[in-house]
Amino acid sequence: MKTNPSDADLIRIAGSIHEQLHTMKHSRFDHLERRIDQFLQTAEDVRTIRRRLCLARERGWDRAASRLLGQLERPLRNIPYEAEQVGRSADEAQAEGPSLRDVYFELKQTHEELGPLGFEPKNQELSVVTEPITLEGFHLGPFEVRLEVQSLGDGHSTAYRIVALDPHPAASNDAVTHPHVSDERLCAGDAAAAIEAALGAGRVFDFFTLVISVLRTYNPNSPFVSLDDWYGTGCYECGYMMAQDDVRWCELCEHDFCSECASYCTRCDETTCVRCLQSCPVCGESVCTSCMADCPDCGRPLCKNCLDDEQCPCHEEEEEDDEQTTSQDANAGEDGRHRTGDVQPGPASRDQSVDIAISATRPPSAT
């Protein structure tokens, strides 16, 4: 990159820009011709409908005539818009391009006010370096605004790049070196139209001034990456800083977690943090609190699947107790030591059954 170009260099560069602008002027005429063709086609559609309408009236086809009137709506709506576009394209094509002298003075002004102006002869790139930019306390470093002279005629938005010289990219995306720059492309927002107009008119100084103004300003409403998230998001559990794309959100405790501290519920597949998961005592699966329930019989927490399948251990214990009671009752009957007087008539709960079973097995001296 050559900096501090001489007057001769500036004249040469001005020549390249002037040539590009001349090419653009030709493309504007092409654009105007396409607009006129479009306008004429719409007018032709109206003429066709008129011809058909006359025919329908001559033959007394009233329904067909009504339908044709409906078809008129669209072209009639488009004609004012297309006429306006033709007028606008004509104005653009008519606009006088800058003289070689004008472009030279633009370059000179840029060099004097924003310079030093850099020039890369091989790629035909003009450049200006900004001061180190800090937005709301976030140091982003200096940027080089590179204008590719040969691309001026191709399309304005691709004619320039924003290169971070001392990049401090967003933690979530290395390509975002500034809240409004991604992959070296500036999302110019409110300055987009003015930048395009400046490039189209060869106003190089205005172009650089506008781009630098955008770089010095932060719009919190639509950045590629918000400054609030510039350094990433911290894991609520371990504090690890991570990119926004790597953040796992726990729906239950409503915090951000890293991939190490987050997991998922094996029942509902919901992402949760490890702390919000419980292990089902029956199946051993990690289940979120929403998929856990208390057994209505014993109050033990277990997953809803196991509960639905009646897999709670209390059911098994009950069966075992019943079996044990039956076998002990049978034994007591055989020994003639069954003390039926201790048993109260009527339905007994599970706990009462256990008590009965225990009392039935006690030796007489203990009662």
């Binding site: 409110d190 987009a192 930048i195 107009a197 400046a198 100084f205 205005d206 001034t209 300003t217 719009n219």
Partner: protein
């Protein structure tokens, strides 16, 4: 008199506009950029910085470029 006014706020179009004789840059600014703070706008007349009481002349080229523009 006529002044070439390049307004880089918004569309960035250049137009010749009428200005009364003796119009200062400050008056021109107030008329054409209402609501704007002069400190937030880079003003150049014939590519040169000028004071606010500079009196415009026929054929002057006035450029006004906001220095705080929001990207997207």
């Amino acid at each position: 008199m006529k002044v070439l006014f390049i307004n880089n706020d918004g569309g960035g179009f250049a137009d010749y506009v009428e200005a009364a004789e003796g119009t200062t840059v400050e008056q021109f600014f107030a008329k054409h950029m209402p609501g704007r703070d002069p400190e937030d706008v880079l003003i150049r007349v014939n590519r040169q910085p000028v004071s606010c009481d500079y009196v415009l002349h026929d054929g002057d080229r006035v450029t006004m470029t906001p220095t705080k523009i929001e990207g997207a």
